[in-house]
């Protein structure tokens, strides 16, 4: 059996990049076909393929790291760089939507009544549910840090409890935001106010759901003894992502909910 004379990870050939690329093709072309021919089959097929790809690709990474020992310190360093670069790209994604919001709100056009919020828009009270949402996410930032320290100190039960609490807080945020969306006195079609509000908060909400899912996977892994007190990068990546989601909310709250009301 040949052994490598270096600490890096030469991955086994994998079909998932191809299936992922095809999933992207099917989702995008499926979107166009849905719009023009009123059938969702192609797009749905793409989404299913995307889920299958994500499940198997990330399952394989867990196998390579936890079961095969390929995630040596240099490899882990690369994974850290990767996660940081990804989160940075997401920061730029949100920056665009904040740019759009400030572009329209700092110099409101005559069509809006020359004011912000525009004439006719009843804004949400920033000191009601949005403030509760802020408290919920800040609390979840505390509980995820508690979970991290529990893992580092080898406290299995506390790690499970604090991680579960973090996820519950995430679900609570999503539930509250869902209720707000349902009850809101304005829609996405209500001019540039509606557009900027729902696109920015909507993408944020999607990221909360993604982050909660990532944390839930970490919870399953923690229960199954995957993490050690020294090596638990999957959890750290999820925690970084969660803090990023929290910070985006704080900017949304200050800019759109509070200043923009």
């Amino acid at each position: 059996m040949a052994h490598q004379a270096h600490a890096y990870h030469m991955v086994d050939p994998s079909p998932w990049p191809l299936t992922g690329a095809v999933a992207a093709l099917l989702m995008t072309s499926g979107l166009a076909i849905w719009m023009h021919f009123h059938t969702m089959t192609l797009m749905t097929l793409g989404m299913i393929l995307l889920l299958l790809t994500m499940y198997q690709w990330w399952r394989d990474i867990i196998r390579e790291g936890t079961f095969q020992g390929h995630h040596t310190p240099p490899v882990q360093k690369g994974l850290r760089y990767g996660m940081i670069l990804f989160i940075t790209s997401e920061v730029f994604f949100f920056l665009g939507f904040f740019w759009a919001f400030y572009h329209s709100s700092l110099a409101p056009t005559p069509e809006l009544g020359g004011c912000w919020p525009p004439t006719g828009i009843t804004t949400l009270d920033p000191f009601e549910v949005p403030l509760l949402n802020t408290a919920v996410l800040l609390a979840s930032g505390v509980t995820v840090t508690w979970a991290h320290h529990s893992i580092m100190e080898g406290l299995r039960k506390q790690a499970i409890q604090s991680l579960a609490l973090t996820i519950l807080l995430g679900f609570y945020f999503t539930f509250l935001q869902g209720m707000e969306y349902y009850e809101a006195p304005f829609t996405i079609a209500d001019g540039v106010y509606g557009s900027t509000f729902f696109v920015a908060t909507g993408f944020h909400g999607l990221h909360v759901i993604i982050g909660s899912t990532f944390l839930a996977v970490c919870l399953l892994r923690q229960v199954q003894y995957h993490f050690t007190s020294e090596h638990h990068f999957g959890f750290e990546a999820a925690a970084w992502y969660w803090h990023f989601v929290d910070v985006v909310w704080l900017f949304l709250y200050i800019s759109i909910y509070w200043w923009g009301s």
Binding site: L25, L26, S29, I33, L52, Y225
Partner: protein, 82 residues
Amino acid sequence: MDYWNHKVPLLASRAFSSSARQLRNKVPEAQKLFQADNGLPVHIKGGTGDVLLYRATMTLTIGGTCYSVYWLLVASMPQKKA
């Protein structure tokens, strides 16, 4: 005595017939399975389930590609005006 550092490792290695609250640590078994010298790539090294899921995924991949080419041809044709 520090419960978590002394008693728990001993408990974790006992075989539980019914796990009410505690799960057995199955990582060592998984490590043995995935480090077996059988030349299998990681995406099918877990067994039959892996192979079935891979085949289903690849079927959707190839089928889906053909289906998207079909719609490409439909969309390329002139639309009949009623």
